[in-house]
Each structure stands twice: as structure tokens, then as C-alpha cells.
Symmetry: C2
Subunit: 187 residues, 2 copies
């Protein structure tokens, strides 16, 4: 019925992440993706609506990889693990930090994570909306820290790794302490 595709969305994603890893966010162009797939730029538009959708695809994919099989024994462990995983994902793909920071997850990507969060927060004194907002805030914080660390990939961070490790621990633990102070039942 029709000509068989030489490329698909998954290959676009792969080429995009490779470019991000090798050249940073500035290296991610539709033309470079096309080159890498040995195809002309216009051909990409048979598979994806434009660069914005490529960003969406990257952000959604990295999120799904990040939360895959995420579990935790209680809210604090869950959130701590989530924070560490976000950081690990962005450490693997430093050039993606700027994209992740500026691209909202699509609803269908975000939704499956919701019950995980609301269940973990069930013992605490906050409603479902606030549980999600608190979790999003932690995400914002961790992504922002990653942006400070990896922001001008592929150039290496300006400070040594220990500096950012310490910053991460300090910020995340402080925020988690804040949740504990604010929302755990007094007894």
C-alpha cells in the first residue's frame, strides 16, 4: 500500500539524545538529526511535527525511564529516590537538562506517576493536590540544580563533582525535612 519508512520516532529520539550527549543542547538541530539518520531534513516531518515535539519526546522518554519501577518504603524514601534518579538521568544526558527544565511533561506521561505519589503521602496531613505540588516542587528543585551543574554542556561543570553532590544533598534533605516538619502528625 505504501513505501516502507526508513526511519521512525524511536530513531529520531536516539539520534537526538546522541547529539545532546556529544554537543549539548546547541547541537540538537533538525538538520543534524536528519544527517545522523542519513536522510534529508524535510523527511523528518513525515514522522514528527517539528522540533517542539522532539523536545516533548525527549522529556517524556527520560521521565518514563526515570520513574520506571520506582518504589520506596514511605514518602521520604520515595521522594529521595526520585530526586536521585532525576539527577542520575540528567547526569547521563547533561545536554538534556535545559530541555527538561523548559518542557512540560505530557499528561499521559505524568498521570501514571500520580498514584505512586498520593499513596506515599497518604499518612501525611495534606490533600492530594498538595502532595502533587510538593513532589513537583522537589522535581523543580532537582532539575534546577542539574541545570546549574550541567547547564552549559558539553562543557564540564565549573566546580568539582563533590561540590554539586554536597549541594544536592543539602538542598534535598532540607526540603524533605521541611515536608516532615510541616505535614507529619505530631504525637
Amino acid at each position: 500500500m505504501s513505501r516502507p519508512p526508513r526511519i521512525d520516532r524511536e530513531q529520531l529520539l536516539g539520534a537526538g539524545l546522541e547529539l545532546l550527549d556529544e554537543q549539548g543542547a546547541g547541537g540538537l538541530s533538525m538538520r543534524a538529526v536528519a544527517d545522523r539518520l542519513q536522510v534529508k531534513p524535510a523527511s523528518l516531518y513525515n514522522h514528527i511535527s517539528g522540533k517542539e515535539q522532539l523536545h516533548q519526546l525527549i522529556a517524556d522518554t527520560l521521565w518514563l525511564r526515570t520513574v520506571e519501577a520506582l518504589t520506596g518504603d514511605g514518602w521520604r524514601e520515595l521522594l529521595g529516590e526520585l530526586a536521585r534518579r532525576i539527577r542520575a538521568t540528567l547526569r547521563e544526558h547533561p545536554g538534556a537538562a535545559a530541555i527538561v527544565a523548559t518542557t512540560n511533561l505530557s499528561a499521559s506521561t505524568y498521570e501514571p506517576t500520580i498514584p505512586l505519589i498520593t499513596q506515599a503521602f497518604a499518612p501525611l496531613r495534606l490533600d492530594e493536590q498538595d502532595a502533587l505540588l510538593i513532589t513537583s516542587s522537589l522535581g523543580v528543585l532537582v532539575i534546577g540544580l542539574a541545570l546549574a551543574e550541567f547547564g552549559d554542556a558539553p562543557n564540564p561543570p565549573v566546580a568539582p563533582r563533590e561540590y554539586y553532590d554536597h549541594w544536592f544533598d543539602l538542598a534535598v534533605e532540607t526540603f524533605l525535612d521541611g515536608i516532615a516538619a510541616r505535614f507529619t502528625e505530631e504525637e
Copy 2:
């Protein structure tokens, strides 16, 4: 000795902020700045080294305006006021959020703020470096929240203002509670 300049850095800054306000981050181009100043693009390079330096100028200027005459009665008031001011600045210039989130302040801009912070944290149990890291973390958090709210300026935010107000209060107060829980002396 020489020809009198028709434009200066301050005008570049003004034109840049106007473009940001009217068209968002995507509207900020060297060519658009030149047009607005009724000058050809190449002339800008007599006054500034390139677009990156324009971003730096914007980030530094907005920071200085944000912390101008900043005071606070104790660390909590100071940090709360700082958070509110950052948000107010980015609300005035929504298109600048993406720039502020990805541009590090120059040392000379950041340095004058340091004593304010270290003094406010003096009564607490953390050293100077951690005081600065904690404050930077709050900045990262607030800028990230602003990015979520204003990220695709000049399009309006997708949720109503009350939603973001609540999110901001919740996130900031939780983080401040964390500082209190972690670093105030037990008595």
C-alpha cells in the same frame, strides 16, 4: 578623538527587555534589538560581544533590581522576601525566566549579596558555604517555579494565578520550614 555613539549598553538592555516582554524569549534576537534601536545588526557588536553577553547583562541587571535595598528581620523574613521579589521580577518580565534560569550571575553581581546572607544566617548552625548554598537552592526553586508558570511567554500561564500562588507559598514555606528544622538551635 572619535565619533559619538548613537547607542549604549543601557539601550541594548532596554530594547532587550521590551522584546522579552512583548514577544517572549523567542523574540529576543540581535537583529530585533538592532531594529528597535534603528541601527544595523552589526553595529551592536561595537557595544557588546554577542548575544551571550546580552543575556548576562539582562540576568545581572534583573538580579541587582531584585535585591536592591533588600533587608529582613532575621533569616526567615529575608529569604521569604527574596523569594517574593524574585517572583515579582519574573512576573514583570515573564520572557526573562528562561534566560535567568540558564545564565549564571557574574561574580561581581553576586558578591555584594553575600554578606547580607551570611549575616542573616549567623544565628544558625551552618557554615558560610552552606548558608550560600541554601540560599541558592531557594533561588533555584523559585526560578524553576517561575519557569513553570511563565515558561512559554508571551502565552499566558495555563493555570489560573491562584494555582501558582498556592504552589509558590507551599514550596517556599516548606523549604523554609526545612531550614528551621535542620539548622536552628534546639533549646
